[in-house]
């Protein structure tokens, strides 16, 4: 009885908002994601599809806020929407040409075969997700962890782990970013 109450309090602790607001936001963001994903692939004008990619990235950032991961939400908003989407927009607008409006995505055999393969991937993933018993896994992982009140916020925990456990990947990421940007400037410069 005590374990069941602890289990329920751990599950409910995650949802800071009341139930209907949480569900409404989830449905709203989910529909934004679905429409934005279709817009990236199916819109013919590449500027429209770049803007719908921006909509998808903003919806994902709000998903991260609902999942209690505030640092990753802020990083997504700053880096993905602020830098990567702007870079993609530069690439789209810099490479302009009258040939884009004839880029119809005609219904060829290759497109039909690819849509069949992608639908089968989606259906197999959905059946795997719905067949797995997630609450059994939550039960077994929860019983191993010490239940304490978290006095440290999410961002502070990420900072602690990046500085102690994951320090080497952190340094390697900075070297990778440096090398990639120098390489990109060297390629684009001539």
């Amino acid at each position: 009885m005590k374990s069941i109450s602890i289990y329920l309090s751990l599950i409910l602790h995650r949802m800071d908002l009341p139930g209907p607001i949480h569900d409404f936001l989830l449905v709203f963001l989910g529909s934004g994601l679905i429409l934005g994903g279709l817009g990236v692939v199916l819109l013919t004008n590449p500027i429209y599809s770049a803007f719908s990619l921006g909509l998808v990235l903003v919806c994902i950032s709000l998903f991260y806020i609902l999942s209690n991961s505030h640092f990753v939400a802020a990083a997504q908003l700053l880096i993905y929407v602020g830098a990567i989407n702007v870079l993609i927009l530069f690439a789209v607008m810099f490479i302009n040409g009258s040939e884009y409006y004839k880029d119809f995505n005609l219904w060829t055999i290759g497109n039909g075969l690819t849509s069949l393969v992608c639908t089968s991937i989606l259906v197999s993933l959905i059946t795997t997700i719905l067949d797995t018993s997630w609450y059994g896994i939550i039960w077994t992982t929860r019983s191993n962890q010490i239940i304490e009140q978290d006095l440290i916020s999410n961002s502070q925990q990420i900072g602690i782990h990046l500085a102690t456990d994951f320090f080497l990947p952190f340094e390697f990421i900075s070297i990778i970013l440096l090398v990639a940007l120098i390489g990109a400037i060297a390629v684009a410069r001539q």
């Binding site: 995650r14 989910g30 994601l33 994903g37 990236v40 692939v41 599809s49 770049a50 990619l53 998808v56 990235l57 994902i60 998903f63 991260y64 999942s67 209690n68 991961s69 990753v72 997504q76 880096i79 993905y80 990567i84 870079l87 993609i88 690439a91 789209v92 810099f94 490479i95 040409g97 040939e99 884009y100 995505n105 290759g110 690819t114 992608c118 639908t119 991937i121 989606l122 993933l125 959905i126 997700i129 997630w134 896994i137 992982t141 962890q145 999410n154 925990q157 990420i158 782990h161 990046l162 990947p169 990421i173 990778i176 970013l177 990639a180 390489g183 990109a184 390629v187 684009a188 001539q190």
Partner: protein
């Protein structure tokens, strides 16, 4: 139930990204669909870290690394696309030997 809904959404984004990546005739649209795929994987990581790993947040940290790698890849990808456009004046994706001299 909420976990499964978010995972189904990320699976949908992943398959839409794969479809767009294979069937796009424009290199910049292929880059955009690659970003969709990486974001679907990131949603998975963050959701699992929120549901199963609230103490150590390993999924959150790995998703930060994925975001950084995606930034580097978009920079290099757009540099390559702009240099291809400068030499050949076309960005159709079926002309794949464009960087040869």
């Amino acid at each position: 139930m909420m976990l499964e809904h978010i995972l189904v959404l990320s699976a949908y984004l992943f398959s839409i990204g794969i479809y767009g990546l294979i069937t796009s005739q424009n290199m910049v649209r292929a880059l955009m669909c690659l970003e969709l795929i990486l974001n679907a994987v990131n949603i998975n990581f963050v959701t699992f870290s929120d549901f199963f790993d609230s103490r150590q947040l390993k999924g959150n940290i790995f998703s930060i690394f994925v975001i950084a790698i995606a930034a580097a890849e978009v920079a290099i990808g757009s540099a390559i696309v702009s240099s291809i456009y400068r030499t050949r004046k076309s960005t159709r994706i079926n002309q794949s030997t464009l960087l040869n001299k």
